[in-house]
Symmetry: C2
Subunit: 330 residues, 2 copies
DNA sequence: TTGAAAGCGATACCAG
DNA sequence: CTGGTATCGCTTTCAA
């Protein structure tokens, strides 16, 4: 377990002063080629690695950002969404010397206490519900924050998928394939995603000259999707297509249709949202709106790093395109 | 953006020396009740938070552990497994002041370079394949490592689910419900999980006095499960149950059975492994072996923290129980 | 039990 | 362009 060399030893080995070594390491232009070469040689030879703690102590930067996830949102952990975001965030950090800290927020108070400039340079917040006071608190303490998922009302920097656009794509696809009685299984309207997906679907119906009279609400769960579809079938037995605001809701719809003996897509076409493993393994496999989750994570870090560097607008938003993955259910 | 107070200011406010403040903060017994009270009051009043960098600089500990995930294993990110592990690890760290660093390993060399005592106190490694040289490298450099998932051959500290036991449970369940021609859709035999699940299944067959002649192999994927089942049906058209080493494989089997018009569970019972969202949403919902993934994460940190503290055996292993979630497919 | 003083390893400013 | 020096905020002797 050999001890790591310090900057001072590098300086001695290279026959230069500590200042010079530091300049070379941090890519300062004020260093002669000669010095640069000597220092780099010494670094390579000694296997020198700068001590983050020491650096952080004087620069007052931590070179780390936190990804904060509310512990209460069990969905995050049992759905692939979380992993994909993490992967995207990590990819965005790849070439940047910045570390990713994971903060699963058990206790909001304690977390707010912890997330200071002393510990992180910035924060990415994974939030489902729009009404989180945390980003505001952070910003007011000088800690840049970026949300993944648009907040419902609170203004903040965020990255999101084009949920409305995705819903539009799906409904357009249903209409284009000749469906005329298209039902919408909408998500909860106290979340931005729920609102946006319904809005997009409604728009597409209007554009196709179809009525938007068949709307029922759920909470994104399978059971709620099943219930919502039953509700729609009560008023419109002639329904020939369904757009669900989530894949589990679509799966619930499939279940109901099967139990009723209605063929999919023969009698009723079904489209979901998220292009998740559920869509892929459903019977029949579900046409579903695909979100670029990894890209959202990457965009979020990029935005955050820009904000930390002070080179980003104060409250920027990035909205990424979705596309439709077409499978056998439509 | 108020500046955080330093320890020195706390000392001044409390009317004691810096040494005393430090002792109180770190719970040293060598501090009078009086001093303790004064210091704590000052800390509360000033909102003091110790500076990790400064502390780390002198203690030579980082108070952080890394969770390392091979980037190449796309499975990790698109399956809930990853999120659940993260959640468990995070829960294990909850009361410990230790931070969780996420390292998605793009480049093994660079990562090995990075993971020194200077940056982390220890490492948790999420590895699918058994042949990872990283843990060994780390240990030899004095960085404690704990694997999640038993390595195939390399000796190392690890936490794992009782894969063999889980497979045994599933096959026992099939046999107990009167099935006599039970096929095994095994996973790849170059992974410890694949080996263990097949071993457990075989054991259970033997214990039930049934032959273990119906075994076909796959790679855990849906397609491979479908292919493997077709293979078994060729030689044993009278097959009346299948145990698959993964849920996707089981889903593949369901698909084949459906296309052949065989009823599940009427004609053939099907059991999977992982109790994933796929099992839950399959048609019919799959009986599947449940692994305590969160608990594995928690156990892994606990083990790691013990090793860091030097209070754990040198190469300990923790194996956690699985259970069977029974659904309609059996 | 306590305070004072000496570092931990880096950066940043300074004069040269 | 360069080397020395002060400094970041904390822990840890050491002497009192």
């Amino acid at each position: 377990m050999k001890e790591r060399p310090t900057l001072e030893e590098v300086a001695r080995r290279a026959g230069v002063g500590r200042g010079t070594v530091s300049r070379v390491i941090n890519g300062s232009p004020r260093a002669s080629e000669q010095a640069r070469a000597a220092v780099n040689a010494a670094i390579a030879e000694l296997g020198y690695i700068p001590n983050r703690a020491a650096r952080s102590l004087v620069t007052r930067r931590t070179d780390s950002v936190a990804l904060v996830v509310p512990e209460s949102e069990e969905r995050f952990f049992t759905e692939p969404f979380f992993g994909r975001v993490v992967r995207g965030v990590s990819a965005g950090l790849r070439d940047s010397e910045v570390q990713l800290l994971l903060a699963i927020a058990q206790d909001r108070r304690r977390l707010g206490h912890y997330l200071t400039r002393q510990h992180v340079d910035g924060v990415i917040l994974l939030s489902l519900h729009g009404e989180d006071p945390l980003p505001g608190e952070l910003e007011s303490r000088g800690v840049p924050a970026v949300l993944i998922g648009r907040p419902l009302t609170t203004p903040a920097a965020y990255v999101d998928a084009d949920n409305a656009g995705g819903a539009r794509l799906a409904v357009e696809h249903l209409a284009a394939s000749g469906r005329r009685r298209i039902g919408i299984l909408a998500g909860p309207q106290d979340m931005a995603v729920g609102v946006a997906r319904l809005a997009g679907a409604t728009e597409a119906l209007a554009a196709a000259g179809l009525p938007a009279d068949l709307v029922a609400y759920g909470d994104f769960s399978e059971a709620s999707g099943a219930a919502a579809l039953r509700e729609l079938l009560d008023t419109a037995p002639d329904l020939d297509a369904v757009f669900a605001a989530s894949d589990p809701m679509a799966a619930g719809a499939l279940r109901v249709l099967r139990s009723l003996g209605r063929a999919v897509p023969g009698d009723v076409a079904v489209a979901g949202f998220d292009d998740s493993v559920i869509a892929e393994h459903a019977d029949p496999p579900l046409t579903s709106v695909h979100q670029p989750v990894e890209a959202m994570g990457t965009a979020a870090v990029r935005l955050l790093l820009d904000r930390i560097a002070g080179t980003a607008p104060d409250r920027p938003a990035v909205v990424l395109d979705t596309h439709l993955t077409i499978r056998q259910s439509t």
